[in-house]
Symmetry: C2
DNA sequence: CAGTGGTCTAGACCACTGA
DNA sequence: CAGTGGTCTAGACCACTGA
């Protein structure tokens, strides 16, 4: 039996191959269901999934359209490594710090821990195509993530390691983004000049159960990085 | 018969009233369906809707949870006025320019028009609690939006006017965000100093049919504004 | 008017959880 | 093991679109 995901994959491939052209209409749902030997509801959830990704555009009472070329993909979040690869840049990292320490007031509040509770602190300088692009500072609860300290995180996505080694899936991130100027110290790390513009993002990430698993800040060079996102209404 | 939306509203109210407490489990879907006299599938789409908004947290094979207090709402986009009111600030605007002009190469590319096609240009300085916060520049296709030029947009949300006066609903926005420094001219408009950090967002907005309805850039003072967003994975 | 997506029903079977 | 969410079926009726 064909599942929702298999049907979505099939449609995705047809679009990528060009069988279904941008701005053209999809066949009627009832016809797709019959051709694929599934019920119409199953076709609908597959279409919903692709519409959510931005590949298809639903129009009430009219056929669903294949999205135009320029609509970019979903608003889901990616790790630094994933994002850089998606943009065609080669990522690598230098680990500057990786220690166990204790939570001060702001960190405790962000991670929902007691003040003084053990936490892990990671600081990585992240490169794209050999150039330093972002300085990332992450706090994690020690109780859940102690094993991370003995793993090599230099060139691995933190989210991938969390998932594969600890079975923890980050699913929701609340982020804020602001514009700041680089301090002398920060400029030195990037090899640029103090007072250059930079994007500072703060992120609180939660797992499937809604528990906070990470409080992170990332400082991106303003002259090299632009954040992209898709919003819906 | 109860619909998906009515069921979602009912659950939303129960959560707001505190009948359903944060971090507690929702009743089983089968029980809710029976109590409400609807089928389980209908209950499920209502729950999906609230989970999408961040009010509920689904857990496979376990009861759905009411989200904890701190999880913020959806990642949908808002107009400047809507966003300011949501943050508890009083918005107002000064219209600096509102003219018909012709599309140059970048504007034509963004709006999917021929070079030289007629477009509307709006430039507004936007205030929060009496302080200048953002400089917004918008291009719209003249063919669809000519009536806007004769309306008062000084203190109205552009999206509200589009919807109410023209029946056009903005539903999808592709945005990019970067950090820049204010030029002497821009600093003068804000009444601050050149070289201050600022957030520059570029936005392409589409209607329900996927047509581009707006190409906008907004320049936010970095010392006063922080962008907030929620990402999912 | 036929075509089409939006929504709903009343079941069914599955995989996973946790006592 | 019972409880539970995830997925699917094979229909049904509705409202809107556009010829």
């Amino acid at each position: 039996m064909l599942t929702r995901d298999q049907i979505a994959d099939q449609l995705r491939k047809r679009i990528e191959r060009g069988d279904l052209k941008p701005d053209s209409a999809l066949p009627p749902e009832r016809l797709l269901a019959e051709d694929l030997g599934v019920s119409r509801m199953t076709v609908r959830v597959a279409i919903d999934q692709l519409a959510e990704e931005g590949l298809l555009v639903r129009r009430p009472n009219r056929r669903t359209l294949v999205a135009g070329d320029k609509i970019s993909r979903s608003a889901s979040f990616m790790s630094f490594s994933e994002e850089m690869r998606a943009r065609g840049w080669r990522p690598h990292s230098v680990m500057r710090q990786s220690t166990a320490t204790v939570a001060d007031v702001p960190v405790a509040a962000q991670l929902n821990l007691e003040i003084g509770a053990k936490v892990i602190y990671l600081e990585r300088l992240r490169f794209a195509d050999g150039e330093p692009l972002a300085l990332e500072r992450v706090h994690l609860p020690y109780a859940r993530f102690a094993p991370l300290l003995s793993l090599d995180l230099t060139n691995q996505s933190l989210y991938t390691v969390m998932e594969e080694a600890l079975g923890v899936r980050p699913v929701l991130a609340e982020e804020s983004v602001e514009a700041v100027l680089l301090s002398t110290q920060e400029a030195e790390i990037f090899g640029t000049t103090a007072g250059s513009p930079a994007l500072l993002t703060r992120r609180i990430t939660r797992d499937e159960e809604g528990y906070v698993i990470e409080a992170a800040t990332s400082l991106y060079r303003g002259d090299r990085y632009r954040m992209a996102l898709v919003r819906r209404r």
